[in-house]
Amino acid sequence: MDTLSQNDNEAIRTVSLVRHYRLGRSVIPAVDGVSMAARRGEFIALLGASGSGKSTLLNLIAGLDRPDAGAIVIDGQNLASLTPDELAGYRRHTVGMVFQSFNLVPSMTLYENVELPMRFAEVRRRVRKQRAREALERVGLSDRIKHRPSEMSGGEQQRAALARALVNEPKILLADEPTGNLDSKTGKEIMDLIRNLNRTLEMTVVMVTHERSLAERYAHRMIFLGDGKLLGETQGKMGAAR
């Protein structure tokens, strides 16, 4: 099979992906020749120490960053060759993201935050309302729609961020340390939610974490990174059960 082509079952494929950062005169290889693939509906955890390149790899898959070399193939198209506008379209429709620090807009209410991606996707107002309500119901926040992020707990904010990531009905959910700012109980709730989305909506999930136990419990597959290189991979409990 051609390295840049995907089979029907494949959601994400990276091919010899390289992303270097310049820091003064030195060049830091954040991602250094990573080739990996994720099946549709698969839950992958990217593990590694701080600075291993897992967040950079996630940003490249999210279309927030561009590789210096290599390819990221999603739905048959190489993200590296897309124009900035096409890449923005990809972020709007194909991927949803959650972050460690939630990244809700503090001046907006919960409803407005969840509605925001649909504004960029030019979804009609009536449809927006319905989708936002459904997404908020799914994460159990339908009674808090008029609250601002500052009036909510960390767990609630992350659930709101998950609702926001869902509203444009993406195929891929990318999560960057989604439980990093949460206590273990709330973190578990969030992880349960993500797993639930992965199962019920058959979303492909790529999650960056440094908590191996969490990855083992929820992911189908764990990919280990170190110094920007792929060190190896192993099945999680869910993968074994699949």
Binding site: L64, P84, D85, R91, M97, N103, S107
Partner: protein, 473 residues
């Protein structure tokens, strides 16, 4: 992104930093206000000048005189010709009729000027005043001179009535001399209005040419024999009712004679057949018949003055108009408007920098938010447009406020100046005007300037790297 989403997001962002954005908007409005105030003053002054000059009759009038009266025009046929080739003609009724037929000529009337002796009817016989009198056409009623005069205009074009100058009224009432063009007190005016003037003048009588016989010396006799002047002079007397008193002389500057003290309706004055300076020429060159001193040709539109003037010159007459001065004045006002506009724009230039500053600050503050929007699928264009709409909204709001503020400033200045004018016993004037095109173009200009000011911040925001913007602090 849909336009209403853009406007909603921009509006929300503006409300978030309401104090800063309000101050920036206020800055724009001060800039626009100064521009509007300056330009409306320039436009208002120009309108005032045009109105006054238009009503003064100076810019739509041509004074026509016969070239027979001028040195070069009086040459004999056959002499070397330097000037126009048309032979000089007598300025008589035939000529007047020809002028009346020219396109866009509204009226032609005699620039009547004569001298006479006046006395208030109830005054002592020796209290007589020898002075210059002139004629006024009915159209003179529109002159700004009659905006503020005592009494009323002539009741009919041929009524035996008189409008007198205020300083002549003072002479009649034996009041002390004051500065020229000062109004008479109403009390003094009432002492003269509706009173009668006895008016004595020399009449030109063409029927009985006997009085002006040659002096007896046969050298002065010519072919006309016993009628060298062609007319006789008879002393006549009329009663004139004083109907109005004006402080300023109507059509001053177009009359060749000295300061006129008494005005009669032109048709009535002409019917009196008074001896005028031009009649002296008839004495020297008998046989030419009755002619006018000068005719005033009033043209409908001042732009046609030059063309009409050319037509009249072709007929063999001398002309004079000050239409060229009017053209120069329009040019001068264009420069004044330009200068005032540039001066007014300076404040807007400062406001321009204010917008740039506000939006650059907004980028720094909303760095993370821009990153989030990009992560959620906002394109560079979406981010840019949000900033443009924010800048444009501030421009529109500031422009609207500025127009209102400029209008208010103009009104206040106008009001203040009019209070001053009234204290100086002068008529209030509206020298300030905000035309609709100024309102619309100020708004457009304000929005355009704001959007241009937003260009750099918008570009910077659009190019923001989302990974950098979202990096944990």
């Amino acid at each position: 992104m849909k336009i209403y989403d853009l406007v909603e997001l921009a509006g929300r962002n503006l409300r978030e930093a309401s104090l800063r954005n309000s101050l920036t908007t206020l800055g724009i409005s001060v800039g626009v206000a100064s521009l509007v105030a300056m330009l409306s003053l320039g436009i208002g002054l120009q309108r005032l000048f045009n109105r006054q000059l238009g009503r003064s009759g100076l810019f739509d009038s041509i004074v026509v005189s016969s070239r027979l009266d001028t040195r070069a025009g009086g040459r004999q046929p056959g002499q070397p010709v330097n000037g126009p080739s048309t032979p000089p003609k007598n300025l008589d009724d035939t000529a007047r009729h020809i002028f009346e037929q020219i396109d866009d000529v509204q009226e032609v009337y005699s620039l009547f000027g004569a001298v006479g002796e006046f006395r208030l009817e109830d005054a002592k016989p020796e209290d007589v005043h020898f002075t210059v009198l002139g004629g006024l056409p009915p159209s003179a009623h529109g002159s700004e001179v009659f905006d503020d005069f005592q009494g009323h205009f002539f009741s009919a074009p041929d009524a035996p009535e008189a409008i007198i100058m205020a300083d002549f009224a003072r002479v009649l009432l034996e009041l002390p001399e004051v500065r020229p063009e000062q109004k008479l007190s109403q009390e003094d005016a009432d002492r003269l209005l509706d009173k009668y003037l006895v008016f004595r003048y020399p009449e030109r009588s063409d029927e009985t040419p006997v009085a002006m016989q040659g002096s007896g010396s046969s050298q002065n006799d010519d072919a006309q024999g016993s009628d060298p002047a062609g007319f006789n002079v008879v002393r006549k007397e009329q009663r004139l009712k004083i109907v109005g008193i004006v402080p300023t002389e109507p059509y001053r500057g177009l009359r060749s004679m000295g300061r006129t003290s008494v005005f009669l309706p032109i048709a009535y004055a002409e019917s009196l057949n008074m001896i005028q300076p031009g009649d002296l020429r008839n004495i020297m060159r008998p046989g030419q018949g009755k002619s006018y001193n000068a005719l005033l040709v009033r043209v409908g539109k001042s732009k046609n003055v030059a063309q009409v003037e050319e037509e009249i010159k072709k007929q063999g007459f001398s002309t004079f108009s000050i239409v060229d001065a009017s053209r120069g004045l329009t040019k001068a006002f264009m420069f004044l408007d330009l200068f005032l506009g540039i001066f007014g724009s300076l404040a807007l230039a400062v406001a321009f920098l204010g917008i740039v500053n506000t939006l650059v600050m907004a980028i720094l503050e909303r760095r993370r938010e821009i990153g989030i929007m990009k992560a959620l699928g906002a394109s560079d264009g979406d981010v840019k447009r949000i900033f443009f709409v924010e800048a444009g909204s501030m421009g529109l709001l500031g422009g609207g406020l500025g127009v209102a503020l400029g209008w208010l400033i103009g009104r206040v200045i106008n009001l203040g100046t009019n209070v001053y004018l009234q204290r100086q016993e002068m008529r209030p004037e509206n020298f300030w005007y905000v035309p609709m095109w100024l309102v619309v173009s100020s708004l457009v200009f304000s929005v355009a300037v704001s959007v241009i000011a937003g260009w750099y911040p918008a570009k910077r925001a659009a190019k923001l790297d989302p990974v950098q913007a979202l990096r944990h602090e």
